[in-house]
């Protein structure tokens, strides 16, 4: 180990075992006359000694009375600097203790709000433009939902509302169709296995997994014939002249 590596090692050791580091430095200097090593030792000794004196010179202080007085004063006056919770807007901020119930008991208003929003968007308007809504599951609840209170400026608001409603219903129907397609595809691919048995026996391999090669065989055959016919259609490469 050269001097540079050694000093690096000693420098690390100084943070955990300073006495051992100094001892090894002294031992190193018995065989080394490098000025850098000697200077390092002198610096180390000076810092260690200075730190010892410096640490003992820290004055004592007693702020107990002042801090307690201020703490009690603050406790008596509501702290308006309390941070605002993310779920609250600044205008909702209260200095008094927060009586908001825990999240679990707050779930039902959220669900209700979402349900109302969905119903508002999906219920067909009085203009009779939303024929597609009748095909969805919303049609069943349609008669029981009261129509929203008309705004004072109904003439202006109505076309926009109708457009939004139409787009929402179209999106809803498309999503429903997509869900049905995916569900059908999964049902076609996956046989009705008992999922619990897979966890009971770790070596269990479901039927559809074990015979997947047989199941995709028709697809492979069709793909191969398609590639062959494509190759037949393509012209023969011309030899180089």
């Amino acid at each position: 180990m050269n001097c540079q590596d050694f000093l690096q090692h000693v420098e690390d050791e100084l943070l955990s075992h300073p006495e051992a580091a100094v001892a090894s430095l002294r031992a190193h200097l018995a065989d080394c006359d490098q000025t850098s090593c000697r200077e390092f030792l002198e610096n180390t000794l000076a810092i260690e000694e200075a730190v010892r004196v410096w640490r003992d010179q820290t004055p004592q202080v007693d702020v107990t009375g002042t801090v307690l007085t201020r703490w009690k004063t603050e406790a008596a006056v509501p702290d308006v600097r309390e941070p605002v919770r993310p779920s609250e807007s600044p205008s909702m901020h209260r200095a008094t203790p927060d009586p908001t119930p825990p999240p679990a008991s707050r779930a039902w208003p959220v669900v209700l709000a979402v349900a109302l929003l969905m119903l508002t968007l999906l219920v067909p308007g009085r203009s009779g433009k939303n024929d597609r809504a009748g095909t969805g599951p919303v049609a069943a609840v349609e008669p029981s939902v009261p129509s929203p209170t008309p705004s004072p400026n109904v003439a202006d608001a109505e076309p926009h509302t109708a457009v939004v409603r139409d787009r929402s219903i179209a999106y809803y129907n498309a999503a429903q169709h997509a869900t049905r397609m995916v569900t059908d595809a999964v049902v076609l691919v996956l046989p009705d296995d008992d999922p619990s048995s897979q966890f009971e026996d770790p070596t269990h391999v479901p039927e559809w997994v074990g015979h997947w090669e047989e199941q995709i065989e028709p697809l492979k055959t069709q793909f191969d014939s398609a590639v062959r016919s494509l190759m037949n259609v393509l012209p023969e490469p011309m030899p180089a002249t």
Partner: protein
Amino acid sequence: MSDLRQLLQRCLAGEEEGAREFVARFQQPVFGLCYRMLGHFQDAEDVTQDALLRALRHLSRWDQSRPFRPWLMAIAANRCRTALDQRRRRPHPTAETVDTAVAPPEPTGDLGEELQLALESVRDELRCCFVLFYQDGMSCAEISEAMNVPEGTVKTWLHRTRRQLAERLRQRGIVPETTHELPGLSSTR
């Protein structure tokens, strides 16, 4: 540690005696950091009060899965940084006072005072790191937690501070010129 947790629970419950114990227990380490960071007794006392009060006020924000001391010292270090920033924004001394304000004091021969003087010349984060390690006895991992930097950075900062302090002490004639005579080590950390 359970003793500390009980104390903190009492503080959280608003118990005055608990708060008194809390302040009595932590005022000295917090003041030590503030005093070494600011180099001024009165300023350090004010910042110590602020830091302890802030810690009491926001005790509920302390993550109980983590050690408490780094959290508290981080608050104190932040208050010190704010105080130092405010101090630097104050108007500079006038031309008449510059001569006396800038002139470096004569070497006192007191190692502790010389070290504090040298310490005031290094960067704030290096000084904070050094004080937490050598005065407060915090480990590199705890300092890393308190200062929100990797542990390797803490070690690098400590090495760098030691080198800068040694250089400064050498300039001030506290560390003798390199000789073949090795001084004895009277004590270590």
